[in-house]
């Protein structure tokens, strides 16, 4: 049932600092059981100026109210393309909070950390089985850091062979992190055009002895499987290059195809996409990286290995690219991902992929007549429409904002750049047919509104906490903190 009529209670809430009352407290601290001493006074700071003073109730109400202005996967359908906003199972949260995990200190010796090491070792093996890579690091903090680690390994491998290559090929449909990560490794970025999918010819035209690697996303950001991937990998390998795969869209491939079997040399995972760990309003992510055997000596240190009947952290790895961050990765996120894999099992993971693809194709079938579909090849886990065909000068942004009034999170918009006014929809497998039907009904209703009453789109959203915000003023006169 589509309705933009019903109402909820949306209340204002001041900033923490605006609610502060001198002398109010929200903490309790154990009594001093040792002699009181202070450092010499010239080192001491004054009051932290402007710092809030609140009671526990103030703080609880503040954040509870803030939460009601947000929209999460638990609030409703969140078809954000390329972000794989699947349901975040609650048992994963319980698992991550087990005190044996959450209270473990990272400097605890290996004999105190056997449970954590075993979990990490098992996760390495399971991710290896899903992806086809024999070696793995769990250290990268997020997908972008995984890309960076992967590209560093490529460069280290080539330099160890005495080669200096300075260019990386990236298709025009790639996420912005790909070129940014390549640049951090000192590479020059060569952009190749793709016509939906990448062709051998397009790669051959730019592949030369200065090219260190090709970075691809498979399936790509249009939801299309790179059908020539094996031959493209062969071509790059013949000229001494390696192939990096952005694993952002692995949710389309589990149990169907393994990047490690296709000639890909390095791939990062996004545990917060494929393996159901929460996006957290922006993070933390987790970006393990799988590599082929020859890149194993270059993995970041430390990593987990078997040691007799137990496990240990391995630091002795002279060709390693080094360390990406403190400690061993986002461990509590790893716990969640491992918990997910154990819940799903091998069969469940494949089923998740199948249903994610089914859902995306169902949306495509229901909306294709009304929304323009620029790439008509068989697509997998997501579908990308353009804004062409919307009436009365309505644009993608207007459709996105109107969806909010219908109770949905908008799809990814204006990406990939190769599609004019892209609307990129990824439903994931955890949405039922009903929720998808209701979303499609809303999309069709909005297309009709564009024709008949476009002002409804232009004014949208009208039901959210705020209306459209003045982003130009925010950028021209940045106000990035509260001041008294």
């Amino acid at each position: 049932m589509i309705s933009t009529e019903s109402r909820g209670l949306v209340l204002d809430e001041k900033l923490l600092f605006e609610q502060s009352q001198p002398g109010r407290i929200g903490y309790s601290i154990a009594a001093l059981d040792v002699p009181a001493v202070l450092p010499e006074s010239k080192l001491l700071r004054d009051d932290i100026s402007g710092f809030p003073e609140l009671s526990e109730v103030d703080v609880v109400r503040h954040y509870t109210r803030l939460s009601t202005w947000n929209y999460g996967v638990d609030s409703g359908f969140y078809p954000l393309g390329s972000c794989t906003m699947k349901y975040n199972p609650k048992v994963n949260e319980a698992a991550a909070r087990l005190p044996g995990f959450s209270d473990l200190h990272p400097h605890a010796p290996d004999n105190f950390s056997q449970g954590a090491l075993e979990l990490m070792y098992n996760l390495q093996c399971d991710l290896g089985e899903v992806s086809g890579f024999p070696a793995m690091t769990l250290q990268p903090a997020a997908g972008a850091q995984g890309e960076f680690a992967g590209m560093l390994m490529i460069r280290a491998w080539q330099e160890a062979k005495g080669e200096k290559r300075n260019k990386v090929i990236i298709p025009d449909t790639a996420h912005g992190t790909n070129p940014a990560s390549a640049a951090l490794c000192g590479y020059e970025v060569i952009t190749v055009p793709s016509d939906g999918v990448l062709s051998k010819e397009a790669v051959a035209a730019v592949m030369d002895d200065d090219v260190a690697a090709l970075m691809v996303t498979n399936p790509n950001t249009l939801g299309l499987f790179e059908a020539d991937i094996r031959e493209i990998c062969d071509l790059v390998h013949e000229r001494g290059g390696l192939v990096y795969s952005d694993g952002a869209n692995l949710n389309a491939l589990m149990g169907i195809s393994r990047p490690g079997d296709l000639g890909i040399d390095v791939m990062h995972f996004n545990l917060h996409k494929t393996f159901s760990t929460p996006h957290g309003g922006g993070g933390p992510g987790s970006g393990p990286v799988g590599v082929v055997e020859k890149l194993k000596p270059f993995l970041p240190v430390p990593f987990v290995v078997q040691d007799g009947d137990g496990y240990k952290l391995e630091y002795n790895c002279p060709q390693s690219i080094g360390r990406m961050k403190s400690f061993f990765g986002h461990f509590s996120i790893l716990v969640r991902a491992y918990s997910y894999i154990l819940s799903m099992g091998g069969t469940g993971l494949k089923q998740a992929t199948e249903l994610a693809v089914l859902n995306a194709n169902y949306i495509r079938a229901r909306l294709e007549g009304e929304f323009d579909l620029p790439y008509k090849q068989r697509s997998l886990h997501e579908v990308v429409f353009s804004e062409d065909g919307l009436h009365n000068d309505c644009h993608t942004l207007d459709v996105a904002k109107r969806l909010i009034d219908y109770g949905y999170h908008p799809p990814t918009i204006y990406f990939p750049l190769v599609v004019h006014g892209a609307l990129m929809i990824e439903p994931t497998e955890t949405e039922s047919r009903q929720s998808i039907d209701e979303f499609c009904d809303a999309m069709l209703a909005i297309a009709a509104e564009a024709k008949n009453s476009p002002e409804l789109l232009k004014q949208a959203p009208v039901r959210a906490k705020v209306k459209r915000l003045d982003e130009a003023t925010a950028a021209r006169k940045p106000k990035l903190r509260w001041n008294s």
């Binding site: 900033l15 609880v60 947000n70 061993f328 997998l380």
Partner: protein, 449 residues
């Protein structure tokens, strides 16, 4: 499977609408030679009760700060977390949301980040803070990159030897293939050697990076280092691994730092075997546009009502691609909440009291251990809640002996600081009561309990 809602009937209806006869047909775009021709070799899925039982058992193989006496610090700190923190971050409107790219339905996340940015500015004494980085070490590496970017043609960066080793190693990884020369400044008596620093400074230096407090827990003379650094036109990066110290000691901003980065785990984030934590990153106004990472700004909506948006996004990878100020594409959203809730609860007074408590406990332990035969406190300067002990025997052996007694005595410095003879880094927080500290000193003295 309980997360997959489709019934067989629904699947068939959906296939009919699509116009294909089987799910298999939907994968016709994946060439035959790219297919996996066998099932994934993973166990069958576990029920929720089996799963939790299995994971609980695994977790019990770990010995944690709650099941032994721990004096470990070194970049991860055992502080008490009030129940309110986990209660509030468990609100799934927060943790199941994505990055707040659609501001109208993300005002909760956006206002929380704006408040976080403010709290970090207040603590560090700086003008602008971003919406966080992965952790302290990667924030430190990004700070180095910022100073080189902002320092035009300057390519040298001086790192104090007293920076946490994992921070120095991360900086080295980030700079591996960039044209940046990293030079280590030796320490003297546990703090950055300013005489050595002076000989290393010239007009090619983009930045000097020091810990505050440093890895040895020592409080560096930031003002003196700032003066030397600024004299050659370089930037001072202060790196804070234990930010609770900022409630007690003068802020790096007040002492002249140009960039302040650090790790926020101390503020309400479980240690979780080292991650996730949160990197904070603050600068002076002049460097606002070369900041890495996300920023939230205040603005108004069409009705003139206050609201918040992600802003100055043209610095970032999704717009500037290879010319972006960083490749980072996330922030530690969930950890921002933990930190902000923790700081809001403690407030001005609570944070100061807690910092004083940590200082007093560490001072007590320092004094007691210093009195033991053969043990010495390695450095004479002021420290916060960590300090280095020179042991009469190999700290590796000593540590293992104490492990048998359920005590994690500290971090063995032999590997990272071989010049320090028998150095052990001991950390004491409010979580260590007097009995624990006394047990530690007795055990160090050799007494079996």
């Amino acid at each position: 499977m309980r997360y997959l809602p489709h019934t067989d009937v629904e699947i068939q209806q959906m296939l009919d609408t699509i116009g294909v006869s089987s799910i298999e047909e939907l994968f016709s775009g994946v060439p035959e030679e790219c297919r996996l021709k066998r099932p994934l070799d993973l166990p069958v899925g576990k029920s929720e009760s089996e799963l939790l039982g299995f994971l609980r058992e695994l977790s019990l193989k770990n010995i944690t700060v709650s099941t032994c006496d721990s004096f470990l610090g070194g970049g991860a700190y055992n502080h008490f977390i009030p129940a309110v923190v986990d209660h509030l971050v468990s609100r799934s409107e927060f943790y199941t949301a994505y990055t707040p790219y659609q501001p109208e339905i993300s005002q909760g996340t956006l206002q929380a980040i704006f408040e976080f940015q403010t709290l970090i500015c207040q603590l560090t004494g700086m003008d602008v803070a971003n919406a966080s980085m992965y952790d302290g070490a990667s924030a430190c590496a990004e700070a180095v990159l910022l100073t080189v970017r902002a320092g035009k043609k300057r390519k040298k960066v001086l790192l104090s030897e007293t920076l946490p080793p994992q921070y120095r190693e991360t900086v080295a990884t980030y700079c591996r293939y960039l044209d940046i020369e990293l030079i280590i400044i030796a320490h003297a008596n546990g703090v950055t050697d300013t005489a050595k620093l002076q000989t290393l400074l010239d007009d090619q230096v983009a930045a000097v990076v020091v810990g505050y407090p440093n890895y040895f827990g020592q409080v560096e003379d930031l003002a003196a280092i700032a003066e030397l650094t600024h004299a050659v036109g370089a930037r001072l990066v202060a790196t804070v691994a234990e930010p609770l110290s900022l409630a007690l000691f003068k802020s790096p901003g007040e002492l002249g730092a140009d960039v302040v980065v650090g790790e926020g785990q101390s503020f309400g984030i479980p240690m979780s075997y080292g991650g996730p934590g949160i990197g904070f990153f603050a600068v002076r106004k002049k460097d606002m546009r070369v900041l890495p990472g996300r920023l939230v700004g205040e603005t108004v909506d069409q009705d003139g009502k206050r609201g918040f948006v992600l802003t100055l996004a043209t610095r970032e990878q999704h717009i500037r691609r290879e010319k972006a100020t960083s490749n980072i594409c996330s922030n530690q959203g969930m950890c921002i909440l933990m930190v902000s809730i923790y700081l809001a609860l403690h407030g001005k007074q609570g944070l100061r009291s807690l910092a004083e408590l940590n200082y007093a406990k560490a001072a007590y332990a320092k004094e007691k251990i210093g009195q033991l035969d053969g043990f010495e406190i390695a450095f004479s300067g002021e420290s916060f809640n960590e300090f280095v002990v020179t042991c009469p025997e190999s700290p590796t052996v000593l540590r293992q002996r104490l492990e048998q007694q359920g005590i994690l005595a500290g971090i063995d410095l032999v590997k990272d600081y071989s010049a320090l003879e028998n150095g052990l880094l001991v950390c004491v927080t409010e979580q260590n009561n007097r009995e624990q500290i006394d047990r530690l000193t007795d055990a160090l003295a050799g007494g079996d309990l």
